[in-house]
Amino acid sequence: MPQTTLAGGFADPPQDAAQAFRGIMQAMARPGRIETVGGVRPPAPLSVAAATLLLTLCDPDTGLYLAGACDTPAVRDWITFHTGAPFVAPADATFALGAWHDIDLSVLPIGTPEYPDRSATVIVEVPNLTHGGAKLRGPGIKDIAMLNLPDLPALQQNAALFPLGLDFFFTSGADLAALPRSTKVT
């Protein structure tokens, strides 16, 4: 087994994961804000930010769905070694990871009226993140925030489902931004 499949986790897991969690929380609390996270060296094609999210948030209780090009044996081995998260079908996923066009949002769980938290968090790998394009309004945003989003109608549809719906992270390199279901996009 080549060493690269397993190397590249957090060097000091408690401290690195806490710092990464802080960045992830800030991004989710302030939609549209771009945070830089790191500390891991994932196998291709995972981005550093997406891998940091997985190592920080996934454990054996969170089912993970890998879509499209992300679903390689090297990625699966690496995630299993570092998190123990099981790989599941999209309908059972707690986290879904992939490029925007590889993920079918309609089959991911959006929660139930009694338990809206039983929904999936989608990690979308995008080519770049900039403060431009779509306008974001809602909790955590003072007036208006800007973020380049891949597909406006689908995200507007998701926001209309509130309190149900999906939460999104967008990752590119070491940068990540978040779009919770409570944010209105135009």
Partner: protein, 151 residues
């Protein structure tokens, strides 16, 4: 499951032996063997708890027996061979020794490790088990019915 058809059976056997052996025995034999392979630590030794599960009579419904403390670590030799160490208790050096032995057992050094470290550990484990069995056997009660001659 048929143990003889499992390709991982030998590895399971030595990992099981290392997990159950006394940390002091493993450390002593490791020092005596004089091995110091260059390696990277993929997962630093960490202490946690695992749920031990059992089945009544080995065929009943599974139940949770209780939690036990384990220490685990993972190392990679310079050649890229990965060794895992999962041992009972909270001795981090024990886990590191187990991981290094697991990695070396997948290399050409296997025969040397087998005779210098694993064989003595296996003897110690057998001695421990026999002593325990003997102690238990002394308390065994044989029930039998004496013919009472009522006819």
């Amino acid at each position: 499951m048929d143990g003889s058809s499992d390709p991982n059976a030998p590895r399971k056997a030595w990992l099981s032996l290392l997990a159950r052996s006394a940390p002091a025995d493993v450390a002593r034999l490791w020092e005596a063997a004089g091995l110091a392979p260059a390696h990277d630590v993929l997962r630093a030794p960490e202490i946690g708890a695992v749920m031990v599960r059992g089945r009544a009579g080995a065929v009943g419904a599974p139940f949770n027996l209780g939690e036990m403390t384990v220490t685990r670590t993972t190392v990679a030799l310079t050649g890229g061979i990965v060794g895992h160490g999962y041992v009972q208790g909270r001795d981090k050096a024990h886990a590191t020794h187990a991981a290094l032995i697991d990695a070396l057992m997948q290399t050409d050094a296997a025969a040397g490790i087998e005779s210098a470290i694993l064989a003595p550990l296996r003897d110690a484990a057998n001695t421990r088990r026999d002593a325990r069995a003997k102690r238990a056997a002394a308390t065994k009660v044989d029930f039998f019915t004496v013919a009472r001659g009522e006819d």
